[in-house]
Symmetry: C2
Amino acid sequence: MHAPDPARPASPTSRDRPAVTLREVAQRAGVSMITVSRAINTPQQVSERTRERVQEAVSALGYVPNLVAGGLRSARSHVVTALVPTLTGPLFGGMVQALTDALELRGFQVMVGQVGYAHSREDELLRAIVGRRPDGIVLTGVMHSPEGRRLLMASGIPVVETWDFTDTPIDMLVGLRHEALGAAVCEHLFAKGRRRLALLSGGDERAARRAQGFEAAAMRLGLRPPAMRLGKSPTTHADGRAGLMALLADMPDIDAVFCSSDMLALGVLTEARVRGIAVPQQLAVMGFGDIDFAETVSPALSTVRIDGTRMGQTAAQWIADRAEGKAVAQPVVDIGFSIVERGSS
Amino acid sequence: MHAPDPARPASPTSRDRPAVTLREVAQRAGVSMITVSRAINTPQQVSERTRERVQEAVSALGYVPNLVAGGLRSARSHVVTALVPTLTGPLFGGMVQALTDALELRGFQVMVGQVGYAHSREDELLRAIVGRRPDGIVLTGVMHSPEGRRLLMASGIPVVETWDFTDTPIDMLVGLRHEALGAAVCEHLFAKGRRRLALLSGGDERAARRAQGFEAAAMRLGLRPPAMRLGKSPTTHADGRAGLMALLADMPDIDAVFCSSDMLALGVLTEARVRGIAVPQQLAVMGFGDIDFAETVSPALSTVRIDGTRMGQTAAQWIADRAEGKAVAQPVVDIGFSIVERGSS
DNA sequence: CTGAAAGCGCTTACAG
DNA sequence: CTGAAAGCGCTTACAG
């Protein structure tokens, strides 16, 4: 299906003259280096005539300031690093977007790093990140590795943990209690008359705690133990299909399934349709995350929504405030969750 | 649904002692700074006894080398920046993952930046990125802005454009021809006996060129002009549902729809099912991207697959080679595409 | 409004 | 195997 193109060898040297520096701009403009720096960063401190001459030199030479050098001296990188388990999934995109937008307005650039759910490379990645001295670090989930906690605390860099809750945050925290969420979903299904519950869950820590909360609530309500199937994270549509099959093989009479992600829930919806199981009449299905198309599938997916935008905005404000030397009044916030009832339950 | 937590004011000063530097490690170990540097970066150049003393000091003080300072002096940042239109969509995740994995093995860290499809902030973001002097820049799509092209070419930084094709790349390019792809899909549908084609497309440039190729092929084949509906990017499931409704309102007898993304195609599948239109009997549906669950929806989605992993690996190798001073033999590659035939067509 | 000197924390280049 | 000096490209802190 493809025809390779004729070779066009790229010479590494042809584009490799050294970058233009402040010194060259200063020479061309006939002023000192510090004056060029001011003309660029704090133009109101410089006379109009000087400003114009500097601007001419900047344009003529194509000068792009080396922000790394500036950051080294001023001890302000204007970079904030966000770590997410996966870039592919839909869950964290909204938070990162909000974080990026809010920090950009305050002069920061957000760089995203991918950790994976496995955490094997986490400490190593953390050293690479701390070594670049960002002005803030946003973590997805709480940090458990003692080594990682020590590293971050010792670094002095403002840290925001998100998407989870703990009484011992490294620094700041905006998140939610997943056990409470699981329990609330269970109570919701109970209130809707469901009695024979099932649970389909990915293997990450937050999903596991949602599962615990769900199960505990079922016991409190006097229900029989939920049929459970635990898999791995990230979860897929295929896992959802296979999961419903397995649950039905174990307990054919289940009347509700809580899935640890919307993607799993969509797989369950597909499998139910293929098998002729009526949703929600025979089986209620609930997801987690409120993926953007949960509302437009058919039946529309009931789910639990987390305000990722607010999480991102909160983290942005905290980090920008700290970078400007302001204290954060309330650096631990539980943003909660909301159950979104749609056609599938 | 949520109860705010008791306030726990965070003092910005409590965590703000300055970071440990090489000098302090050197003093504690009783050696010079350069010896500490060697013990960390090229341990084979240092005696075992010295190495041990340095390691003791590093651990005791919790030293994390400042990579920014090192990068400034050595003119090697070991950072590669990738720019994607959106972090939320599924399309670019595989490429970024492959890029990250491959570059990590060669000692680089990948930072991802989000550009959006609008390109309004593109030049500004580019200056912020070039200003940090990464060892490579990976772009999604080809760069058109003359200002952006000039900036990147003048920077001397290795640049790889991806996901598209042009005869005038900035530097290196691994991508595909979207017009050819659109034409191939049209010919495929024709070969399957479809004659009354329709097209549902997002508004980004590559989608527009797939649409052009599709339409041109239809005319060459002597078909009637495809029913077309063009929207915006990123595309959504809801756009797919609304799009099929609109296409049917225009031309009720269409027998095939090519969608510019799998997400649109999934919306079309949902809308078709709700309306009782049999897929693929009455209507063939094809997507683009081979999203991870295209295979497990029902009917399974026919689509076009791009090898994002290979694109990411290729870009990684080129950039790492260039950073090591090697020339890249064939810096322009068309990786093509493959049509994946499943149940929906 | 402008500038000379010092310094951010490392690595390079040279020397022994 | 080890080190003293210089320098990467900026900004800070001081001075006028």
